[in-house]
Amino acid sequence: MVSLKTELCGIELDNPLIPASGTFGFGYEFAEIYDINCLGSFSFKGTTKDARFGNPTPRIAECENAMINSVGLQNPGVENVIKNELPKLRNCFHKPVMANVSGFSVEEYVYTVEKLDKEDCIGWFEVNVSCPNVHGGGMSFGTSPEAASEVTRACRAVTKKPLIIKLSPNVTDIVSIAKACEESGADGISLINTLLGMKIDLKTKKPVIANKMGGFSGPAIKPVAIRMVYQVYEAVKIPIVGGGGIASAEDVIEMMLAGASAVEIGAQNLVDPYACPKIIAELPRVMEKYGIKNLKDIIGGAH
């Protein structure tokens, strides 16, 4: 018998699979087609202080083995998430869930984390620092160690729940940013968010995405994600949630060998809504093939 169990910031997971924020809503669409309690956890739709419609359409473009999205953090705002979405989530998911939080100022992050902190169903916070800082000239919080650490410190002050910072890969030195988050009180690091990409339509000769640029994700980005998780694992002591192009049981194992304690599945959920349960069912066979008894034992095994 093999064991899929792992642990993330002191909370045991039945398996390492965590559908990534923005690809899984608040869980109930997927609960219509399978029992989502088979998952390790999931990270719910990025939530902000105020309701957001997001960006104009088209928001989606297809690329080779990948896609670009520019949804723009569409969400009903934290009050409505608590009032309307979390009750539906609790009905179909009975394990600790990951709360993905975004903001456009430090105050907005703090406001949202503080509101959600009272919700028992939330096991971890996953703070997305890829958003532009409106008070910082529009630069993403995640692009400088100082700004990332400011968000981390401010959120740390308002919650005792495990605080995971989701980093942007669109930086020159991911390691310095991960270390800054760790030093500022983060309990974990999640990476990678999407890479900034663009696709141009040869017929219209213009970008396909209305917002011109968007987040590039899918199997094509996996080597970048593996490399960044590997680098960050060498530099920090806190656990890592690894993600980026993961689409199979083999990918999950590769990501854990790079240093991930848990693994996010993003774009693949959109292409195959059954992707996660299929991977969970496939893992024991693939583990046996590679002589792995406990998934937990292989975390960082490539180092």
């Binding site: 923005g22 809503g25 669409e29 219509e32 997001g54 928001r59 990948a66 896609m67 959920n269 959109l270």
Partner: protein, 242 residues
């Protein structure tokens, strides 16, 4: 929603750049005005295609070749298999039609009118149909609508067949109780402005997942934000913001 493995039993060109694919498989839960999402080998995202006809275990799709995905579909042959998510989209609500509904399809918006027309006739309604095309070589299914027993009008933009002009140029000849329509957005807007009754309008948008998870195809309506894939593709006339 379910993921069904369909087998192609026929795939043929029926008009300029237009193909009809007949698939065999589990068609349970596929409604008029809904769509299916096809996983083609070599492409990352699925291809959402509207439902043209469901008859027993046969599903007919009609699509225009507009890019690499539909190009690939057009080349697929008998016996090839396609994983297909079915049961997607709200579809048309037939209960509001009245006795004489008007069905208006433009180009690639014609196919969903066929299953709808069939079902309305089966329920004893008397639908009229306007089919709009650019030119005579793009026309398909005129005879099939006529065989169902629907009063069928064809318009072409260049006047090479039927009434010259747009679908709205055929409206004045017809007495109707309700409108169902699907087509390019400028056509939908023209139908919205021209129609004297209430109706249902089917929209198109680039989609990520097709089942409501990614918020890739959101739009604003008078009743709040909606996802074209899950809360649509059919919207009520009263909720559309134009």
């Amino acid at each position: 929603m379910k993921d069904v493995l369909f087998t192609i039993i026929n795939n043929e060109k029926i008009a300029k750049n237009t193909y009809e694919t007949v698939l065999e498989g589990d068609t349970e839960g596929i409604r008029a005005g809904a769509f299916v999402n096809l996983k083609l080998d070599g492409f990352f995202l699925r291809r959402p295609i509207s439902v043209c006809e469901v008859e027993g275990d046969r599903l007919t799709l009609i699509y225009k070749v507009v890019g690499k995905g539909t190009e690939k579909m057009a080349q697929m042959g008998e016996g090839e298999k396609i994983w297909t998510l079915t049961g997607l989209g709200n579809g048309y609500d037939l209960t509001k039609s009245g006795d004489k509904p008007l069905l208006v399809g433009g180009g690639a918006g014609v196919p969903p009118m066929y299953e709808l027309c069939k079902q309305l006739i089966r329920e004893g309604k008397h639908p009229s149909v306007i089919l709009g095309f650019g030119s005579q070589d793009e026309i398909f299914y005129e005879d099939k609508f006529k065989s169902l027993g629907a009063d069928t009008y064809v318009t072409t933009v260049d006047g090479s067949y039927g009434t010259r002009g747009f679908v709205t140029d055929a409206f004045d000849k017809i007495d109707y109780t309700y409108v169902y329509t699907c087509g390019p957005e400028p056509m939908l807007k023209a139908v919205y402005n021209k129609s004297a009754t209430s109706g249902q309008f089917s929209f198109e948008e680039r989609m990520g997942c097709g089942f409501g998870a990614c918020m890739g195809c959101s739009c604003k309506t008078k009743y709040g934000n909606k996802r074209i894939c899950k809360d649509g593709p059919v919207l009520e006339k009263e909720e559309i913001i134009w």
